[in-house]
Amino acid sequence: MTYIPHTDANRAEMLKAIGVKSLKDLFPDVPAQHKYPKLSVPAALSEMETWWEMQGLSEANADVNHYACFLGAGAYNHYSPHTVDYVLRRGEFYTAYTPYQPEVSQGTLQAMFEYQSMICQLTGMDVSNASHYDGATSLAEGVLMSMNATKGNRTKIVMSPLVHPQYRSVVRTYTQGMDISIVGDDNLKSDLPDLIKLLDQETAALVIQSPNFLGQLEDVKGLADKVHAVGALLIVVTDPIALGLFMPPGEYGADIVCAEGQSLGIPLSYGGPYLGIFATKNAYVRKMAGRLVGETVDSDGTRGYVLTLSTREQHIRREKATSNICTNQGLYMLAAAVYMATLGKCGLEQVARLCWHKSHYAAKAIGKLKGYKVITDKPFFKEFVVKLPKPVSEVNEFLLEEFDILGGYDLGQDYPHLKNHVLIAVTETNTQQEIDDLVEGLKQVMEQ
């Protein structure tokens, strides 16, 4: 089927107005030898048949509503209140274009302005953009901005090995055509004191993550001063749920804050679309990439909102733009805004507390099992590391088969010294029963 509304009579009239005989006459410049290729895309299905096929495909997956999920590592199974999808499903929002015509886009623009405001509060920063593609690309833009903000004559980035491995890899992809050296994570065991030793006059930024990839809260006291002392910027990757409870990066001197916003009400959706949170200090607002909404007035003096500082952007500046970015994650920025508005001040703190209590309950119980060791050298938030007596894949297979549990992330993939170590995530959606089942499963797999 198609969604084309044309009747035969419409078509005839329109072709006549144009002065051609048939639809085939509308492509005179297309080289004849390549015209109308035979495609192997399968024949059309009706809407009903398509629905059945898609249901079938979706049911071939094991989803977190039918399995207990202890997998995190940058994407989390948090609860999203029903207000979020109610708003996302409004055609007024999801079928709207980028708000380049502000008079007929005040809904999207005001929602963006409010999102920016809530992100500033959450992160403790002065200014937030209207989002990037995801946490990883947000960090890549942060790294580029730090080079730009330090006058473009610093070429070194010090990166903690406990920044999400995929984020680190995206930063390297982004910077492969540039004169830049990324150090720090070449030694996967580097700790904060090791990284601080690498800071020098060539350094544009130190990148840390807290809670880090292993779920641990880094000891950030005095860190910003040491970074600023060499004239570099402090970039912090964080988790927005943790900020419901813990000190925001703005309070301990971060210059740029990047985060994956998926936790703020956005479905797991197998990895995307997600939301790249990006916030910084006022001093760097003109160096920042991405869309930005500002307040203004209309010709009657009524308050209104527009995209602003567009002279930074590609459609005006072309090759001199701060980035090639043309979209943000409009709809998922809206999801995060509705999530924050619905949970509000006390709700987000409650979610963070539940994550804390449940993950610590799980860690204590697993720590008591014979053969298992929970790594507790730093405080953790909702994820923690367990050393297993068997390979992670073997344990996870058993948990899946026998307990309908999606086990944790195999850290040996990225950190060879953490072979047989698993990263377990526990959120507010994991019940005590699920956690007890996980502990029981781990106990039984030892007896196999």
Binding site: W51, V64, G304, H357
Partner: protein, 491 residues
């Protein structure tokens, strides 16, 4: 019409949703690491719903009306797509699950890769890039790595026509290359002489949007491709205008080496008020090893079973990862559904009717709005909002269209046409809608001459009047605060 800011309707103590009490024994919090205050708003659930309902009512949108927005392909967003993307098995799977537990997801991705290859005429596709500009950046990095891999280190110039989208030069600059702009000839094609002069052994490649942003199919494409390839450069296709080509011709057959698709344009995934997009990249045989990874492969078991096992594979010389996880999967489901519903015939019919609609509007408007390159166009065309004896400009026409309940066309783009109005109707609009739009445009052309003040002061019926963009950039108010914080700040 205005809606208070979310902090202005906040009252201490309200909460829109209650979380359950902890069902496990509590663990003490590390006091010295906690934050002192959290400045999020406090609203009841009904407050939240009404607030966003009111905001939504201030938005123009496809479900509500016609968006003749050039280069944006604002076609109907089918409703089945939204329900499919929310199916439990798709919306609630974790990106790091063992591929064996998400074979449905990998099947969707593999088929979409195969269909995009087929539609574009390419040897392989990566679904990873998150948007069109992200796909461009990916394509440029692929071209870069291809040359370096051959030991060809002196290439540093990307050729870009003056009619190109701004993302083209910006993506090139991000990859460390310099941009050389090429002029257009009198028929809207690339100036062949200028191209010939620019082609040498420093050229990485040419970025070409075809049809270009004037909505015109490049008349000398074969020669353009020959010149670029002869100097060792590659042809990059900007797939922004793919809605003019699907089923009619495949860019891969025309000589393009790499191209990004915009699932949010051609394949009906919603624009979402500015994202999320999705910008898969297709490449010819010689570039497959450089694609961002991982890509999805189908492995068939030896026992003759025709149900494949879908697995991830890393291309051998991959440029690396462009984003975390597996790309904008939610958009893949919608694009898959769109292709499945249409089949090859339906996809071709869409292209033909998109081109029919655009040409119909052109011939009905050209006596009132000059069309500088007046020949059969593809899915869009560019005319001018300028009128003899009137100081009315394209922007005024755009704002006045709002009063007639239409979204404005793209204005002031491409940059090579003064007072440009770029119109792309898409295939899903009916003749009745187009006729109403044409009537409105013709009336506006008359008003421009007889009542120019109507246009200068437009819009009259929108939620707000014309907004002061200069003030926004000068005074720079980028966020608001909870009321009690504001009071503290001023005290």
């Amino acid at each position: 019409m205005s809606e208070p800011l979310i902090y202005e309707i906040s009252s201490p103590g309200r909460c829109g949703v209650e979380m359950p009490a902890s069902d496990v024994p509590e663990t003490e919090l590390p006091k010295d690491m906690l934050r002192s205050n959290l400045g999020l708003p406090e609203l009841s659930q009904l407050d939240v719903v009404r607030h966003y309902m009111h905001l939504s009512q201030m938005n123009y949108n496809i479900d509500g009306g016609f968006y003749p927005l050039g280069s944006c392909t604002m076609k109907f967003n089918p409703k089945i797509n939204e329900d499919v993307a929310r199916l439990n098995g798709f919306a609630f799977t974790h990106p790091l699950q063992d591929p064996q537990t998400v074979q449905g997801n990998l099947a969707v991705m593999w088929h979409l890769q195969e269909w995009l290859k087929d539609i574009g005429g390419f040897a392989a596709v990566s679904l990873q890039p998150a948007a069109g500009a992200h796909g461009e950046f990916t394509g440029i990095l692929i071209m870069r790595k291809y040359h370096l891999d051959r030991g060809d280190t002196k290439r540093s110039v990307i050729l870009i026509p003056d009619s190109a989208h701004g993302t083209n030069p910006a993506s090139s600059a991000m990859s460390g290359f310099t941009v050389k702009q090429l002029p257009s000839d009198s028929r809207g094609n690339i100036d062949l002489e200028a191209l010939r002069a620019a082609c040498d052994d420093t050229v990485v490649g040419l970025m070409l949007t075809n049809p270009n942003t004037l909505g015109l199919f490049e008349e000398h494409l074969e020669e353009v491709v020959k010149l670029v390839h002869a100097c060792g450069g590659l042809m990059y296709g900007d797939g922004a205008n793919m809605n003019a080509l699907v089923g009619v011709v495949r860019p891969g057959d025309l000589g393009f080496d790499v191209m990004h698709y915009n699932l949010h344009k051609t394949f009906s995934t919603p624009h979402g008020g500015g994202g999320p997009g999705s910008g898969p990249v297709g490449v010819t045989e010689k570039l497959v090893d450089f694609l961002p990874g991982p890509v999805v492969d189908a492995e068939y078991p030896d026992d003759g079973d025709d149900t494949p096992l879908y697995v991830y594979r890393q291309p051998k010389k991959s440029i690396g990862r462009l984003k975390a996880f597996n790309g904008n999967f939610g958009m893949f489901i919608r694009a898959y559904t769109y292709i499945r519903v249409h089949g090859a015939e339906g996809l071709l019919a869409n292209t033909e009717h998109a081109v029919l609609n655009a040409n119909y509007i052109r011939v009905k408007l050209r006596d009132k709005f000059p069309v500088p390159y007046d020949r059969i166009n593809m899915h869009e065309f560019v005319c001018q909002g300028k009128f003899a004896g009137s100081d009315v400009r394209a922007l005024d026409v755009s704002k006045r269209l709002m009063d007639y309940n239409f979204h404005p066309p793209t204005n002031y783009f491409p940059l090579i046409v003064p007072e440009a109005l770029m119109i792309e109707p898409t295939e899903t609009e009916s003749k009745e809608t187009l006729d109403t739009f044409i009537d409105a445009m013709r009336k506006i052309a008359d008003e421009a001459v007889n009542h120019p003040e109507l246009l200068h002061e437009a819009p009259h019926n929108a939620p707000v009047k014309r907004l002061d963009e200069v003030k926004a950039a000068k005074d720079l108010v980028l966020c608001c605060m909870p009321i009690e914080f504001e009071k503290q700040a001023t005290a």
